[in-house]
């Protein structure tokens, strides 16, 4: 898949967006096209921007790996990053997550299948925060079928990832965006821009 920037309506580009800005990209009601758009946007964003993370509800972690390795993998893929740094860097977020140090170490030893959806949801946000991302790509499933109550997810995400630029991708006709006024709605220029 080529990773040229897709064409957006009204000449929108992601290049001069302010930190903490919120964008919602309308992908229409076709689930297959939505998946292709997310794949394309993620592939492009990873090439264009130094740090991009991703949030979803469906299968956020690899079941066969420990949570420590799951948190470490995206961070270490593009630059050398020691496994032992994950617990160290996670400690700064413990007050927000409501965990103690021993809770963290216990969770890092577990596999995703051993954890509740709420813990998975929090760990996913932690993984995103560890990347210190410029951009967060959000699948609409993160809002529609959240792993933990949506207000809790948003509160945590705003506290840990508030400085990043958010790009939500989904069917905006049916998606109720929290704090609607803060989101800038954007569209692709044509249906073929996901190729």
């Amino acid at each position: 898949m080529k990773s040229r920037l897709p064409l957006f309506a009204n000449g929108w580009t992601p290049y001069q967006c302010q930190p903490s800005s919120r964008f919602a990209l309308d992908s229409g009601n076709n689930a297959f096209i939505r998946e292709r758009i997310i794949d394309k946007v993620c592939a492009t964003w990873h090439r264009q921007f130094s740090a991009t993370s991703y949030l979803e509800s469906t299968s956020p972690f690899i079941q066969n790996l420990s949570m420590l390795e799951n948190l470490w993998l995206p961070t270490s893929w593009h630059k050398p990053f020691d496994l032992s740094l994950i617990p160290q860097l996670s400690e700064q977020h413990l007050p927000l997550l409501g965990w103690s140090r021993s809770d963290l170490y216990q969770l890092l030893d577990c596999r995703p299948g051993d954890l509740t959806p709420a813990l998975i949801g929090k760990l996913q946000i932690l993984r995103a925060a560890l990347l210190n991302p410029d951009w967060i790509i959000i699948d609409s499933s993160w809002f529609l079928d959240p792993l933990l109550p949506i207000d809790q997810s948003l509160q945590l995400a705003n506290a840990m990832l508030g400085a990043s630029r958010w790009l939500l991708i989904g069917d905006l006709e049916f998606l109720v965006l929290p704090n609607e006024g803060a989101w800038v709605k954007i569209k692709l220029l044509s249906a073929n821009s996901h190729d």
Binding site: D39, C42, Y54, E56, T58, Q63, E69, P74, I137
Partner: protein, 221 residues
Amino acid sequence: MIQAMSLVFFRQLFFTGVQSAGIILLLAALSGGGLAIVCQSMLKLPAGVIFQVLSLFIIKIMGVSLTLLVISARSISAITTEIATVRVSGEARSLARLGVNPSVYFLLPRLAATSVSSIILYLYFVAIGLITGIVFAHRSLGFEGVIGFYPDLPLYDLISGVARAGIFGLGSVLCVFYFSSRKARTLPDIPLAASNGVFLTLIFMLVMEISYQLLMFALET
């Protein structure tokens, strides 16, 4: 990237190589010991001839076939299941969206580890098979007596065995990645993909071995 792939490599090496060592030990001992007993008690062959028969049989045929059979049964089915599961469950797609190339992460370390394990296990099989065979054939031989036979090892056959084991390691993982695991679309397809993967790698091994033996026969005649 290298760190993440190294972790997968060593984990796969442990699973495929280290954990198969016990069964390889058993098979090698049975092969070498059984053949030596037949040669000595039924055929009444002298020790030097028994070693020649053992080394040819184990290095040329049994070592490669039995080692690769164990790897197919143990590791290939597990690798196929894992790759099919991450595809079907959407984990591979999520990983790609996080910027991690799933083909590189899941395939390359397993290719390398299966190849290296195949080679090491083959050499291990040959060593155990020959030692057991000689000890069974001539129980009065001391350590120096057993080692004394080793300069007569057919080196060319050993090197070709190593090459075949390495090629099998590469080919089998590529087979399952490109042919078996991609057929799995839903969870019930996964066991089928795993058995299909084992079947494919066994066919690959048989084709490779038969082709090699026919080629050697043609070159010798």
